[in-house]
Structures are given as structure tokens and as C-alpha cells.
């Protein structure tokens, strides 16, 4: 069975500092991995995905994510955080067939001015 863990419920970072939101996964076969962001009273917005190839994936709003197969991780990163990055972030995994996404529980990111 597939599963996704986001070990931190809450991440606090000062504006201008680098941020990392962690995600680990368990899936058979080669996974497809996704990050989504959710702002208050809104749906999830797609940020980026890893399918294959380069382990560093670049996405929207200056975010990037690093895929590490040996550690089964897909951490979301940004070199310099903005207050406007404050939101709820979800990691998701899908197997290499179908659209059976499994979402992590979410991590709330707070960027402090």
C-alpha cells in the first residue's frame, strides 16, 4: 500500500531564510511525486512534480524539490522564504499507473516577517 508522511505539522521560518518542508513516501515501483499548496478557503494548487530524470525539480513561485530514492524522500525547498509563502503544503504520491493519488497529512508553513 502507498503512504506519504510529512513529519512536521508546522514549520516556522523567518522571511528571507531558506525553507524546507519534508516528505517521505512508501510505494511499490517507481513513484510519481507531487507538491501542492493550499491557501485559506481555497483548493489545492499544483506546485511541481517529479516523474523521472533530474533529482532536483523546479516548480512555481520559486519552489523546488529534491527527490532522493535511497531515502524515499521528496523535500520541498525554497532558497528565500516570503511571508506570502505561508500556507498549507501537501505532498502526494501516485503509482506508475492510474490516478490513485495518496496525500500526506499536510504541513503548515509560517513565514515570519
Amino acid at each position: 500500500a502507498q503512504s506519504v508522511a510529512q513529519p512536521e505539522d508546522q514549520v516556522n521560518v523567518a522571511e528571507g531564510n531558506p525553507l524546507t518542508v519534508k516528505c517521505t513516501y512508501s510505494v511499490s515501483g517507481n513513484p510519481y511525486l507531487f507538491w501542492y499548496v493550499q491557501y485559506p478557503n481555497r483548493g489545492l494548487q499544483f506546485l511541481l512534480k517529479y516523474i523521472t530524470g533530474d533529482n532536483l525539480v523546479k516548480g512555481s513561485y520559486g519552489f523546488e524539490a529534491e527527490f532522493n530514492k535511497s531515502q524515499t524522500s521528496f523535500h520541498l525547498k525554497k532558497p528565500s522564504a516570503l511571508v506570502s509563502d505561508s500556507a498549507l503544503y501537501f505532498c502526494a504520491v501516485s503509482p506508475n499507473y492510474g490516478q490513485n493519488f495518496v496525500f500526506g497529512p499536510g504541513t503548515r508553513l509560517s513565514v515570519l516577517p
Partner: protein
């Protein structure tokens, strides 16, 4: 943003009453999904549709039914609402069944069952 409209956006109702939530898309995507979002659980799939009149159960389908009579509309029905179904419900769409494609989400319906 993908053309996805969920209605109503908020609803308060009583235990035992039927409730229907609507998802309407203007993208002509074949695949549609209903999720519920609860603290600590992320999103969990309730039902999904892979075409008109073609639906299947997800992880947490008990107490829910769906219908899709047109490509653009996917309805979620709680036949007899219970307090455990208080949640935020999200509709999502995708163009392809390929698992390397992202799903796109509506803005949700906040449902409270008293």
C-alpha cells in the same frame, strides 16, 4: 486556474437529512474526483469518475454516492448525513488517467452537520 466550480461553498444541515454537493467543470476533462479534507488526514478519496455514468469507489466511500450524467457535472450525495461527515469537500479533475499528470482542484465546500 482550472474552470472548476463547487456549490454550495458552505452548508449547515442536520443529522439525517440528505445533502447533495455539485462540481461543475468547463475543461471537458474526462476524470473527476471527490475528496474530503480533515485535519491530520490530508485528502482522502471518496469516489471518482472516469466518464459519463462511469464511477468507482475510493478509500472512504461508505455513506456517499455519486452520479455523473454529463461530462461537466459530478454530484456527491450524502443520503442521510451524520456528524462524522462534517468536513471540507473538494472536487478535482484531470485530463488523463496517466499518473504523471496533476489533478486540479476546486475551492471546496465546507459542510457542517449538526
Amino acid at each position: 486556474d482550472a474552470g472548476i466550480t463547487q456549490s454550495p461553498r458552505h452548508k449547515v444541515t442536520e443529522t439525517g437529512t440528505p445533502v447533495t454537493l455539485r462540481c461543475h467543470q468547463t475543461e471537458n476533462h474526462r476524470y473527476m474526483y471527490w475528496y474530503r479534507q480533515d485535519p491530520g488526514h490530508g485528502l482522502r478519496l471518496i469516489h471518482y469518475s472516469y466518464g459519463v455514468k462511469d464511477t468507482d469507489k475510493g478509500e472512504v466511500s461508505d455513506g456517499y454516492s455519486v452520479s455523473r450524467s454529463k461530462t461537466e457535472d459530478f454530484l456527491l450525495t450524502l443520503e442521510s448525513a451524520t456528524s462524522s461527515q462534517t468536513s471540507v469537500y473538494f472536487c478535482a479533475i484531470s485530463e488523463s488517467v496517466n499518473s504523471n499528470q496533476p489533478q486540479h482542484f476546486g475551492d471546496g465546500t465546507r459542510l457542517s452537520i449538526l
